[in-house]
């Protein structure tokens, strides 16, 4: 029995999807932590950001991914990318409905690409990334986008369903399940995620992998490598009957059976064309020998013959069946038609002129373009870096945002956080929340702690274990409990105890290190600070009953080690009149 390669691919992708959902929905925290620590091995931007921030693991992982696509093409996009798999699921439904797949109209050549936009986004992303701003990465990274879908859309949906279930069971007087408090929604961040959700669904449902081949910088990067990958899809024009089935099925719209060509840049290696081809005319092979021997990228005969076909009106006929092409007897040499890089980067070029170029010239042109782009990027990066650094705080609140423990400080966090929001999902206390522009131009949508909603629980370090990009370094609970992310401020003249001369003590009650504690004077418990012990968890700010708060936490720019908890340093004297063990009751 013939094993469908597309089914194998879909199975692998399905397994990955389950893992991604496990990860982003924080189904099982220890496993989420394990996945988070190893996610950089599988994901492009996490690996790249880790590499840039100076971790060898990131560099190695990045090179592994590059090597993978140099050998096998854009398999990343189809097996490893969560947003890609998400789109494939939608494409599956789209095919079931008949919007895509067998009934799709056949067209002449391939659909137009938006290469200019595609590569412009890539260039902008990379330029900004090296200039110290993750703005474009945060917005366009498919991994982060899927993370935001999960955290901001899927998770609340799940929580709501859970709460409906809770209400249902409790209507019978049974307390079986616990209701979940929905995370407070920051609407600006929500609408960005939701807008992207609609965009991706629309694009994939009606146009296959259009998103990946128009907006995605990861796709754009891998397309540069997949053009020249070792293994690639080729149409055997001797076997091909130009029935067009592969073109209808292709999710990337990169098949051109009439010309016997496959656009290697857009092809995501989904193997569907191989499965659907009734003649077994499509192969996934190493670069054919003929091409190497001839030393040319394009077969001149085919190239000169093809333009004529291109303008053949019969090609634009609708199914079934399209006219048969490729019968000119150009044997063998066509086997390995390779679309060349420079030509497809600038696809607006007249096909005749394009095909007229010799391989060597194209290669030189590509090299020249690549060098020019790299030079351009470098030339922009150097002046852009200080400029961005100066503008980093543009449009943000006067107070610095508070970053999670393990993030080392605002700078490290905002320069490495991909805004995938895995940490937000892991935060059971709902204190770590998605933001929009808390970090100015350094990054978009990166999360921060909001002490008006909740506080960072002393006995929790969940967020530090899940970060895929190394923005939040893993911290043991012991270390986390001594990591100062903010420092406490106390304004006596607002405090109830001082203004109204009566007990309140809310802050001291909840302070996990007793950086704020009470001392008894005139039978009133007066709050007192011991800032060395403060770790900036925000518990005091959360519970302080006055507005504006009499006690609050301000971010520290670089996280530091806090002193030992105050109750360990200098415990107050124990009361002496407490009833002794076994003594008579004092009443």
């Amino acid at each position: 029995m013939k094993v469908k390669k597309g089914a194998v691919r879909a199975l692998l992708a399905g397994i990955m999807m389950v893992l991604f959902l496990f990860f982003f929905l924080d189904v099982h925290p220890p496993f989420t932590g394990f996945l988070g620590q190893n996610m950089a091995w599988l994901q492009f931007f996490p690996a790249m950001v880790r590499a840039i921030s100076g971790t060898y693991i990131g560099l190695i992982a990045f090179l592994v991914l590059v090597l993978l696509s140099l050998i096998f093409g854009r398999v990343y996009c189809v097996v490893l990318c969560p947003l890609g798999i998400f789109q494939d699921i939608l494409i599956f439904f789209s095919r079931c409905r008949g919007t895509q797949g067998r009934k799709r109209k056949l067209i002449k050549g391939t659909t137009g690409t938006y290469s200019f936009l595609w590569y412009a986004i890539l260039i902008f992303t990379v330029t900004l990334l090296f200039s110290g701003s993750l703005f474009f990465v945060n917005i366009f990274d498919p991994f982060s986008i899927f993370g935001r879908f999960s955290t901001q859309l899927f998770l609340p949906m799940g929580a709501t369903l859970n709460n409906v279930l809770v209400n249902f069971t409790e209507s019978f007087g049974q307390y079986v399940f616990s209701p979940v408090n929905l995370r407070p929604v920051l609407w600006s961040a929500f609408w960005i995620s939701y807008g992207w959700f609609v965009l991706v669904i629309f694009m994939s449902f009606y146009h296959g992998r259009l998103y990946c081949n128009t907006l995605c910088p990861v796709g754009a990067f891998f397309s540069l490598l997949s053009r020249h990958s070792l293994f690639k899809f080729v149409i055997d024009r001797q076997k091909c009957t130009t029935c067009g089935k592969c073109q209808r099925m292709c999710r990337s719209h990169c098949m051109d059976p009439a010309m016997g060509k496959i656009d290697g840049a857009r092809c995501v290696s989904c193997f569907d064309c191989m499965d659907v081809c009734p003649e077994n005319a499509i192969g996934y092979t190493m670069m054919p020998q003929e091409v190497l021997v001839k030393g040319g990228l394009y077969d001149q005969n085919a190239a000169s013959a093809n333009p004529a076909e291109l303008i053949n009106p019969s090609l634009s006929t609708n199914p079934p069946p399209p006219a048969k092409f490729g019968t000119q007897g150009n044997v063998g040499a066509n086997f390995g038609n390779r679309p060349s890089l420079a030509s497809s980067v600038f696809r607006g070029v007249d096909p005749i002129k394009k095909n007229g170029l010799s391989g060597a010239v194209e290669k030189r042109q590509f090299l020249f373009t690549a060098l020019a782009i790299c030079g351009g990027v470098l030339a922009t990066v150097i002046p852009l870096r200080p400029l961005l650094a100066r503008m980093a705080r543009l449009g943000t609140t006067p107070h610095d945002p508070i970053t999670p423990p393990g993030s080392l400080g605002i700078d490290h966090f905002s320069h490495t956080c991909l805004a995938c929001q895995a940490c937000v999902s892991a935060c059971v206390e709902n204190v770590l929340l998605p933001g929009t522009n808390a970090y100015g131009l350094t990054g978009a949508l990166q999360p921060h702690l909001d002490f008006s909603i909740s506080r960072c629980a002393y006995t929790c370090h969940a967020c530090t274990l899940v970060c895929p990009s190394g923005a939040i370094m893993p911290l043991s609970l012991k270390k986390k409990q001594r990591t100062r992310i903010g420092s406490v401020r106390f304004e006596k003249d607002k405090c109830l105890v001082y203004t109204q001369k009566r007990d309140c003590g809310a802050c001291a009650e909840v302070c996990p290190t007793h950086a704020v504690h009470t001392i008894l004077k005139n039978n009133i418990h007066h709050p007192r600070l011991m800032t060395d012990a403060c770790i900036g968890c925000g518990a005091c700010q959360l519970v302080c009953p006055v507005t504006p708060k009499a006690i609050y936490v301000v971010a520290v720019k670089i996280h530091e080690k806090a002193g030992p908890p105050f109750f360990q340093q200098d415990p107050p004297a124990a009361p002496t009149d407490v009833m002794e063990s076994g003594a008579d009751f004092p009443f």
Binding site: R502, A506, H525, Q568, P575
Partner: protein, 311 residues
């Protein structure tokens, strides 16, 4: 208008009276009312020492002739221990799980239909339930842990007699259950001096912040007007001496193996304050509740039964 008022008042009164009359017939009958007054005088407060939490509770509740005095067959019972902190039992921040377990068992043995246990924790609710050991203890005894971290469980009540706390939202089970048992732990508290039975009741309200804002002690006392617990059990097995309510280390907790039991929430707090070496008058909420007539802190006037399980 006046006529209407009269009619309404009449209707109200007749409904109340008929319910009362029916109630006496349904719940145990009239003979029980007589029976109580003729039997030996019940203690106002039972103080037990030198035993494990379970046996101490057995001895204390025997002073009332067993749990059947409070729990009638078919009743629903809600138990409110202190499960406010994500700390293990040995740090004395939460009520001893063994005590809670024994109370659940007694209630079920007395024929309770359902025994619910909850606390609106300060730390993460589910984690507190688990790490305090109370969730396991309650479930193994056949009780039900009820979530309390969601606002939907809380219903608004008006407190007309309250001086500062005029209304608040309290957990539905406190209103709906037949029997309410308050099981605090005796510990030092950084903002109210001591955390005792009345303070423990802050764990049944949704917004504790208003307490702190309006006046902690007065609100704690005011809340007792809503529903006085049918029974208070003070866990004095471990006593937090300092760094309370939650951050006590090993040196800050002493084992005293005591237990108090009373129907009077003010008396039990006064007794506990004495055990801690404090004058009940110095703990403002005890004083306020005493003045408001919720109970008495005058221990000398009470019928106190003291027991020792040693030897």
């Amino acid at each position: 208008m006046e006529k209407f008022d009269n009619r309404r008042a009449f209707l109200k009164k007749s409904v109340t009276l008929s319910t009362l009359a029916a109630g006496t017939l349904i719940f145990g009958g009239i003979d029980r009312l007589w029976g109580q007054s003729t039997s030996t005088v019940l203690p106002d407060l039972v103080a037990v020492k030198d035993g494990e939490p379970g046996p101490m509770f057995d001895a204390a509740i025997a002073g009332f002739g067993g749990m059947g005095h409070f729990v009638k067959p078919g009743d629903t019972v809600v138990i409110k221990p202190n499960i406010g902190w994500n700390r293990e039992a040995e740090f004395g921040a939460n009520t001893h799980p063994g005590l809670v377990k024994r109370i659940v068992t007694h209630c079920l043995d007395a024929g309770a239909k359902k025994v619910y246990v909850f606390d609106h924790a300060v730390d993460n609710g589910p984690k507190c339930y688990k790490n305090s050991g109370i969730a396991f203890a309650v479930k193994s005894a056949g009780g039900t842990m009820v979530p309390a971290t969601h606002e939907k469980y809380y219903q608004k009540v008006d407190i007309s007699q309250g001086k500062k706390l005029k209304s608040t939202k309290i957990h539905e089970l406190i209103l709906a259950s037949d029997v309410y048992i308050n099981v605090p732990v005796l510990k030092h508290h950084g903002s109210s001096g001591l955390s005792l039975a009345m303070k423990n009741q802050m764990g049944v309200v949704w917004n504790r912040g208003t307490y702190h804002f309006k006046g902690l002690h007065q609100c704690i006392a005011d809340f007792c007007h809503v529903r006085k617990p049918d029974l208070n059990v003070m866990d004095g097995y471990r006593i937090t001496l300092r760094n309370g309510p939650s951050r006590a280390g090993k040196d800050d907790v002493v084992v005293r193996k005591t237990l108090l039991l009373s129907t009077d929430i003010v008396a039990i707090d006064a007794a506990a304050a004495r055990m801690f070496g404090k004058d009940p008058k110095d703990i403002n909420h005890i004083l306020y509740a005493h003045t408001a007539g919720i109970g008495t802190m005058d221990l000398a006037k009470l019928n106190i039964r003291k027991l020792s399980l040693k030897g």
